[in-house]
Structures are given as structure tokens and as C-alpha cells.
Amino acid sequence: MRKVITLITTIALFASPLSFANNSVSVSGSTSVSNVVEVLAETYQKNTNNRVDVQGMGSSAGIIAATNGTSMLGMSSRVLRANELTPFLEQTVIAKDGIAIVINESNPVSDLTLSEVNKIYRNKITNWKQVGGDDKKIVVVTREASSGTREAFERIVGLKKSVNGIQVTNISPSALVGNGNGMVKTLVSNNQNAISFISLGSVDDSTLKVLKINGVVSSDENIVSGEYQIARPFIFVFNKNVPKEAHDFMQYVLSDEGQQIVEEQGYIRVK
């Protein structure tokens, strides 16, 4: 009997937040997107007193959460795969993010072509002098497997190959791996020969040099016009009959004020 009471109490304790959370919006998914959505949620809460819970756990997890209803909104930093699209799933682009190719500031190279980047990441170009730099070995730095930034980078630069019918990375396995934008920044700013890619919104370090790709600077205008190719959308994914609160929050994000915050955070507005 006591066991039953304990069990019921435990369930009640765990379930009680759910009943309170009815009129709050739950958002989960890509860690890159959650950086900016957290700021948006904070100001939205101040303005309207509606709660928004943001949880960063990766694009794939966010899309799954939106599909099965665990979260009202899913955040994705990559275009949805064919097998993730379902008839009742809708998506809205809330911002765009460029991926900057960065090197150490002491490296004289300032311009690479997309195919050079591709070859560097496949270990076909291994020395900076092959791309007009010093006679030094290139230290390739990448992100951990299935990070949204890496996924987008691989797709755009063409670093995918097929193994047993499954798309996998073609980045050389001997490349250094940093987990998170911060780690990658530390690695590149401490190593003169390093090259890596990070979300443009998180470039703030003067010890990094952002490269031109095919002669194009990674500016907002060039990303919007599509001239700078290494860019990705930040997407909200949601079920067609998602509650009104979620729609309200989405409207706020796409409003002028919301888009202003997007811009302040270093990302590119879509409206």
C-alpha cells in the first residue's frame, strides 16, 4: 500500500510541472539556433509574461521533438532531410547564418576557393604553400560528427560520401575535432597553421581571420544575395495544429523587434 502511495506521489510530482506548463511554449533543437532563440524568448517573456522554454539538443532531436509533439517548436540549423518531412509538418525560416572559414590571424592566406576548402578537408591539399601561403602543414580542425554546423558545412562544400547507402562525412578522419564553436576558436587562435569553420554569428575574436571564399566576403548582403555560398537557414519546425501560443511566439520572432534581435546576435534577418 505504502509503495502505491509513494508511486502515486512520485508520478504526481513529476507530472505537476506539465499541468502548469500548459500555456508556455516549448522550443527545442539545434544548439546554434537556441543561442539566438534564448535571447528572443527572454525579451518575449518580459513583454508578454508568456513562458518560453528553450532547450538546445541538436537539429535532429529538435525535428523529432516537433514531429512527435514533445516540443511545440523544433529548431533546425539545416534543411530537413527527405525522410524527416511529413505532411503535417510545417517550417518557417527565422534567420540565416553564414559559416565562416577561419584561420589564425598570423596566416598570410586571405582567400580560398570552395574546391580548395574541399580538398583541404579531404587531405588532398596538405600544405599552405599549395594555396599561396607559407611552407607549413595545414592543421585541419572540424566539429564533432552530426553537429549542425558541420552538417551544413559538409553539404555545401560537398564533403559527403556514401557508405552502404548511408550519407556520411568525407572529412579526413585525422582532422582535429573541437566540440563546440568555443573549442574550435581556441584551437585556431592558438595554432598558426589551423583552419576551421564556425558559425558567422560567433566570430568575435580578433585572433581569427575570416577568409573570403571564391573572392566573396562573408558579409550579410552577400549571404542574403546568395553570393557567399557557405550559409544555412535557421528553421522553426512545427506541427500544423500547434497551439496559438507557439504561433504568437513565432510571429514575435518574425516581427521587426524579433528580427532586430536576430541581427544584434550576429545572424542575418529574413524580413
Partner: protein, 301 residues
């Protein structure tokens, strides 16, 4: 009253006896409960790892997973290079760290003047309290650039950097336990050796260290466990490349780093493969502990 006192005492005694019994039973239960916390935790962790990692073992196959050399989620899940990286970095850390730790322990227990021991011992104990992320940062800022300069390699994020950081990290564990076991030896051992004409140094190496062997080995075992389980510092200094390292001057990824780096993003079979990485790690730790336990018992007889 007098006649009643006997009657009065006996229920009291009975009550006291029953109370005593109750307290005894309570503590008995408390001891058992405390003792089972560790065992239950271990069993739960093992069950959890096996139930989560089973899918990957089933789909990829144990041989492909454990001896595969390519880590390409979600297609190929070979963790052999990571097993090698974990073993090599731990072995290296033990080879460098244990002799230093043992000599420090002997110094503290036998040779150091009191004022010097009072500086060294707190320093060593403080070393134990430093969080591993700080070790990692220290490695990234000091050891990694030093390796770049000393060995003229393009990137110092190498197995060697990991070994050096781990060697420093296991020092406090091994030193503290070795010193305690050296101090716990009966003074007769040393006095006997000296009385037989052995020099101080000779008595340390031929009498004291062999006599304290069991404690020292326990320290080494804990040190190994710390080294093989270390994650954060290793992620920061070892480069985490999933390829098989060709030498100590190449980057590598340990089993723990593999789990920690990819767990936050992984879904489906990829996540399962990370749990199975945990299973392999668990098996290694069990084997290591069993091996050391065996050596300890065999030598003791």
C-alpha cells in the same frame, strides 16, 4: 514497593532489550543499505549501458564495432582506434606518472625534512582538487604549444599531450595512497634492515617498498581508473581525431572523449553506438581491476 520492584525492573529490562534490539536492527539495515548503494548503482549503470548499447551491437556486429577502424556515424561504428588511444594514453600516463609518484611518496614518508614535506604534501593534495577542465586548459595553453616547438609538429594536440596531462592528474592519487601505506609499515621493518647494516636507500627499495606493495598497487589501480576515465582534459588536448594514431605525435580520440563529444547530438543507432562505447570502457575497467586484484593476491601469498 520492594516486592513490586522486581516486577517493575523486568519489563524495563525487557523494554531495554527490545529497544536495543530495535536500534541494532536499524543500524544493521542502515549498514546493508549503505553497502548496497554502490553495488546497485553499478548494476543499474551496467544494465542501462547494455540495454541502450545492445542495438548497435546487434546492427553493427560486435566484431565490426570493437575491431572496426572507421568511425563514420551513422554508417560505420569502428571504435578500435579509440580503444588503442585509451590504452596507450593510460599506459603512457602510468609509465611516466607512477615512478614520479612513488619517488615522491618515498621522499615524503622517509627522506624529506619536515619543513619541505609541509610544502610538498599540501601542494600534492591541492593538485587532487583541481578540476579536470583546468588541467585541460593548462595542457592546451602550456603543453600543446611546447610539443609544437619541441617536436616541430604542426599541431601539438597529440597523444603525447594527453599522456603528460594524465600523468600529472594521477600523481596525487598515487602519491597519497603510497605514502599512507609506507607510513603504515611497522617501524621494525626499517629498524631491522638498518640493524642488518643496510643503507637507508637500500632499505627503502628492498624492504619498505616491497612491504607496502599492496597499498601502492591500490594507488596505481585508482590512478589507472582516473586516467582511463578522464574526459574533459583529454578532449581539450588530444585532438579527438577518430583515425588510428600512427605515433605519439598524432591526434587521437579516447573512448570517453567519443561519448562526451557526440552524445549531445546523437540519435538512433549513433546514440546506441556511443552507449556501446561505454560498454567497452566498462569491460576494460573491470578487466583492469580484476587483473590488479589478481596480481595483488598472488604476490601476497
Amino acid at each position: 514497593m520492594n516486592t513490586n520492584s522486581e516486577l517493575n525492573v523486568s519489563p524495563q529490562q525487557a523494554m531495554m532489550a527490545s529497544k536495543k534490539d530495535w536500534i541494532g536492527m536499524f543500524f544493521h539495515a542502515l549498514f546493508i543499505a549503505s553497502a548496497s548503494v554502490g553495488v546497485i548503482s553499478l548494476a543499474t549503470i551496467a544494465w542501462f549501458l547494455f540495454s541502450e548499447g545492445f542495438t548497435a551491437f546487434k546492427e553493427a556486429g560486435v566484431i565490426n564495432l570493437v575491431f572496426g577502424s572507421e568511425w563514420l556515424p551513422p554508417a560505420l561504428f569502428g571504435i578500435f582506434p579509440m580503444i588503442i588511444a585509451s590504452l596507450v594514453s593510460t599506459l603512457g600516463a602510468v609509465l611516466i606518472g607512477v615512478p614520479i609518484a612513488l619517488l615522491t611518496a618515498v621522499f615524503l614518508a622517509e627522506l624529506a625534512p619536515k619543513w619541505l614535506a609541509n610544502i610538498v604534501r599540501p601542494a600534492v593534495e591541492l593538485l587532487a582538487g583541481i578540476p579536470s577542465v583546468v588541467y585541460g586548459f593548462f595542457g592546451l595553453v602550456i603543453i600543446v604549444p611546447a610539443i609544437e616547438v619541441l617536436f616541430n609538429v604542426p599541431a601539438g594536440n597529440t597523444v603525447l599531450a594527453g599522456i603528460i596531462v594524465l600523468a600529472i592528474m594521477i600523481l596525487p592519487t598515487v602519491i597519497t595512497i603510497s605514502e599512507t601505506s609506507l607510513r603504515a609499515l611497522p617501524p621494525a621493518y626499517k629498524e631491522g634492515a638498518l640493524a642488518l647494516g643496510a643503507s637507508h636507500i637500500y632499505s627503502i627499495f628492498k624492504v619498505l617498498i616491497p612491504a607496502a606493495r599492496s597499498g601502492i598497487l591500490t594507488g596505481v589501480a585508482l590512478g589507472i581508473a582516473r586516467a582511463i576515465g578522464e574526459t574533459m582534459a583529454i578532449i581539450m588536448v588530444m585532438g579527438n581525431a577518430p583515425a588510428m594514431p600512427g605515433s605519439l605525435l598524432e591526434p587521437a580520440r579516447t573512448l570517453t572523449a567519443n561519448i562526451a563529444m557526440e552524445m549531445s547530438y546523437a540519435t538512433g543507432i549513433h546514440a546506441s553506438a556511443l552507449y556501446s562505447t561505454g560498454i567497452v570502457l566498462l569491460v576494460f575497467i573491470v578487466l583492469l581491476n580484476a587483473g590488479l586484484l589478481y596480481i595483488n593476491k598472488k604476490r601476497a601469498h
